[in-house]
Each structure stands twice: as structure tokens, then as C-alpha cells.
Subunit: 351 residues, 2 copies
Amino acid sequence: MLNTDVRLIEMKSDKEVTIYDIAEALNISASTVSRGLRDHPSVRKVTKKKIMIVANKMGYQHNKFASNLRKKHTNMIGVVLPRLDSYFQSTIISGMEKEANKAGYNLIISQSQESIKKERASILTMFNSRVDGLLVSLAYDTENLDHLDIFFKKKIPVIFFDRVYDQSECTNIVIDNFKAGYDVTKHLIEQGCRRILHLGGNLLRNLYSDRFRGYKQALLDNGVPFDQDLVFIDRLNEEAGINTVKEILKMKIPPDGIFTVNDTTAATIICKLKEASIRVPDDIAVAGFNNDPISRVVDPNLTTINYPGEKMGEIAASTLIHKLKKLKTVNTNTIILHHELIIRQSSLRKR
Amino acid sequence: MLNTDVRLIEMKSDKEVTIYDIAEALNISASTVSRGLRDHPSVRKVTKKKIMIVANKMGYQHNKFASNLRKKHTNMIGVVLPRLDSYFQSTIISGMEKEANKAGYNLIISQSQESIKKERASILTMFNSRVDGLLVSLAYDTENLDHLDIFFKKKIPVIFFDRVYDQSECTNIVIDNFKAGYDVTKHLIEQGCRRILHLGGNLLRNLYSDRFRGYKQALLDNGVPFDQDLVFIDRLNEEAGINTVKEILKMKIPPDGIFTVNDTTAATIICKLKEASIRVPDDIAVAGFNNDPISRVVDPNLTTINYPGEKMGEIAASTLIHKLKKLKTVNTNTIILHHELIIRQSSLRKR
DNA sequence: CTGTTAGCGCTTTCAT
DNA sequence: ATGAAAGCGCTAACAG
């Protein structure tokens, strides 16, 4: 008696319970079980109920795998992005995961670590895993889209977000980085800044080049001379902030304003300036980008651009899902999300 | 002529190229192709080379799916964690992704949004996706591990990190939260604090209860009376920080020290205290937890505990992978990572 | 409403 | 060293 019990339990834990087992137990066909389990309309309610009960009793668990192999889609969305180590990136993922989850999709995530080489590998893995669609934010040094050809050839939808590729046929999801750069710079000028340092990222990437263009245009429109010596291009980490302040301390005529395209770096800059007894905003006004929590905590609070990260993630995912479900959508090739300038003390001079 | 071309292209883009196609093209069997592709020893080098060349030419891409269905494993690791919207969480994921990637595994990630209900759903999805193993950080209100039974029954390895479950048989990866809480509190006492407010999280979760116990023990060991009125349990967001300061302002005898188990909240508290003209650290010393970048930027800089997030992610993933590969490892049931107290100005009183 | 049949693409004995 | 055959678990035509 005890023996049989044990054997039963062991069978349960080792072998997968399949729809065939259920079919056998109920003396019906596997297809009916398959249909019943998925609540297909053409199965009698009674039969469905029976199937459900037996399935539960036997500990049946749907095998997505087999199902996917057959159906030729996976309900998985691949996400490839540079890094996953900032508040900003994680809000994007958070938004994506929410939307995907709602629609029954799962996210499979891979970091390119800002390198095209890893990006290439990640994208290949995604392909081999047969993701239904891909969400991509490009690495620092990606120069073309060759590595995505496998996706394009098979017409698997690819959507870019944040760091997009301008000449691509895919949907791009961005904010108006030009205008954002313009807005920040204009604001600094209005506060009386005449020598505004710009710390940006690789101009290969749309967002950095657009912000830079916005910066230049605002200078031009307001009769402030552009000075190439005030433009710094760097990886945008804490170190970049530290270096920038070092450079500033060496300058004969220091800047009176700084526009950095990232809050973490901006916050570091503020701290370092204060250490060097430079007053913010009176000696140098500072503005960042992203509206990271850090911007509300640094003293003085950081003027910044509110970047709707969570929203961007949500929209990226839901746009992709729409495509996957072939719902007729307005075929916008570029979706521009709303940003706004948040003015705080780091740039606000008393008159 | 044009017609055939078009048809050829369409065939390419629509139909999957399978090992059968390669086999046919080379007049060998599919099994040989399969073996050749995986560099199996019992295939002649010449044949292998031929297979590779044709495979490339035909644009063959391995189908993980079919392979997985057959091999009964997926090379996927499921990650279920409360949220993905803080620096801290994302460093953990970052570490996991690195290790997993190195070993040829992919991460599939799901947020429980701090709710047991979503946690249950996520875990079921993971199971249905037949992940090879699971990495879990428990939601705020999870009270037992029933929803993981499906994994336990099938002996699929589950590892907990950060928010673990003490009575579980699984490997837990944590820091010594008791000692960390103790260290912080002791330090505050050494700085002269006698009324230390503790803002913590749900005591159901090991990390919060351990930190709280550490706090109490440090008080006891140093002859500082414990006062239940100085213990606040809350969700640990910015709002909690704001509320805490509101409460403090109402107190007849305010605290002279605060130990919050999270840097974002601690930073918010410092800002709000300053707004209320309370000096930090002279009136109230403040200490946080995690060593988030925010702690280095808030003024005064925040005393905190360095929490090795990235490392925790790496170790969680690599431990799981070891188990999956059935490598004999020291069967540590709990892995305790090293933390350290980082003393900064927010708690450092001049003598 | 239900059953039969034929795969999805790959891997793995077991032969040869 | 290679091939034939069976099957992982599920789904979708098609037929009744």
C-alpha cells in the first residue's frame, strides 16, 4: 500500500503530464483536451469542466514549448539595451514588462554593455530563441543595422526606443531631443548665462546629437557665441562629471552654465563644484536630463528634463504587441513622447 | 526570370531553413547535419566544414525551441522580483545577466509589483515556460511558498536572493542584515544619539526584520532604551520619507538620529528635514542603506551600508547555473555576502 | 461537437 | 562515421 503510493508520487514528479494522459483518463481525444484547455468555443461545457477537473487532479501544466513549436510563435519579446544599471533604464523596463505582461507576453532581456559586439551576440540569441518581436536601444558605438538583417528578412517587427537609428524603417520611440536641448539651453541663457558648457554623449547616437543641435540652435537664436572648447563628449558616468569639473578648474575663463545630458553626471558635477567653492547657480548654473530621483535630492535641486521612461517602455511594448497582433494601427514611423523642462534651484538665479 | 527570383526570395524569408534542407542539399542525413552543427566528435571534419558552409549560405538559424522540446531544457533562467525601478534592483539584474550570458543562459524577468498575487502568476508563467531554474526575491506580502510547490515537486532549482524565506530548503543569498542594522545603530549611538528613529519595511521579510533586530540589539548592548514609538514601518518610497518627517515635526521630543533601511527614503528625509530647518547631523543624524548613488549626492552625504547588488546578482546566477550543471558544489544553504558601513557626513558629528 | 492525422524542427538511440 | 526511425507535447486541417 505504501509502496504504490510512493510510486505514484514519483511518477507525478518525474514524467510530464500531457494532454494525452488527460485524454486517456477521460476516454476522449487529445485534440478535444487541447481545445477544452484553451476554452475553445466548440467544446461542450460539460466536457470542458471534466477536462479541467482531471487536468488539475493530475497536475497538468501547459507546455509552452511544444505549443510554440507548433504555433510558430513564442509570446516572447526580446529587449536589447545598453545597460541596466540606472534608475532611468529600469523604469523603461518596468513599463515594458507591465504592458507585455498584460497581453500575455514575456520579456527576455539582454544588455549590450554599450558594445556593438555584445549587441550583435544578444540579437542573434534573441533570434535563435525565436522572439516574436524585438525592442532595441542601441549601444554607444553601433554604426549600422546589419546585425538586425535576420529580423528584417523574416519581417519580425523591431522597434527602437531612446537610442534609435534614424535611417531605419522601423518605428522609433523617442522624445524631441532637439527641442529638449533647446529648451534647457534657452532657459540657461535667460538666466544670464553666456558661456554654457555642454557635456554630451557620442554624437553617433540620435539623442546626443539632437540635444547638441538643440543647444547650438538656442545659442544661435539668442546671439550667444558658440565655442567648441565648451563642448565635452564623454561616457556619461560619475567619472565624466569629475573630469569635467577638473577641466573647468583649469580654464582661464570658466563657464557660467553647464548643460549635461544626464542627471547622475550633473549631480556629481554640482557636488564637485561645491567642493571647489564654486557657487551653484550663482557662479555656474547647472542643468541635467532625465528627472532622476537624484535631481530632487542634490542641493541645490537640479533643473532637468522630465524624460517619461516608464511611459516609453509601455508604449514601446504596446506598439510592438499591436504589430504582432496585426491590429491596424496608424502606421506612425516615429512616436514622439512629451517631455518637459523642470526648473529648479540649480539654474535659478535671483534677479 | 524575375518571377523565379522573387519567389526564391520569398521562400527564403518565409520558410525556416531546417537541418533537413541542409541535409538534402548535401545528400546526407539530418542527423549528421545536427551533429555537425553542434561539433559532435563523430563527424568527419570535411563533412562538418561542408555543413557549416551550406548552413551559412542558406541562412540557417538554429531553432532553440525544437531543440528544447526534444532536450527537455530551455537554457532559460526565470527571475521574479518585486520591482525594477531602482538603481539597486537593476544592479542585481545586471549581475545576473552577465553571469547567465557567460554560461549561455537567458534571463526571463517578471515583476511581482510587491503583490503575492502577481508573484503567483509570474511563477506559474515561468513554470509553463519551462525555465531551467528560478531566482526569486519575495514580494512585500508573501507569507508562504505554496506557489513554488510546482517547482519543488519537479526538483527544479529555486534560489532566493535579497528577500529570502528563512524556513526554505533552497539556497538563500543575502547579506548579514542583522549585523548591518547593528553596525549602523551602534555607529549612531557612538555619535551621541539617544533617540534613534527606525524606519523599516514589512517585518515579514527577513531583511527588514533582521535589520530591525540588529537595531534593537545595538540599543540594548549600549544601554539606550528602546522606544516602540520611534519605530515606523512603511513602504519605503519617497512618500514614506515625507510622512516620517511630518510625524517627527509633531513630536514633543524629536529623535536625534534616524536609521532608514533605504537610501532614497533617507535622502528624501534629509531634504525635508533641511526644509524644516532641522540641521543634519547636528540636530538629527541620518543613516540609510544600499549605497545608492543618491547617497553620494545628497548634502550632507549619506552614511549608509554598502550593499553588493551586482555581486549578489552574479552569485545568484552562477550558483543556480552550477546546480543546473550538477557540478558538485559545497552545498551551502545560505550564502552571506560581505557588507560594509560607509560613514559620511550625515551622521558624523564634530566633537 | 469530437476524432483522425499529420506535422512543427530537432535530438537520440540503435543499427549499419 | 553515418543513417533510419521514433518521438518531445501540442495544434490545426479536415472529416465526420
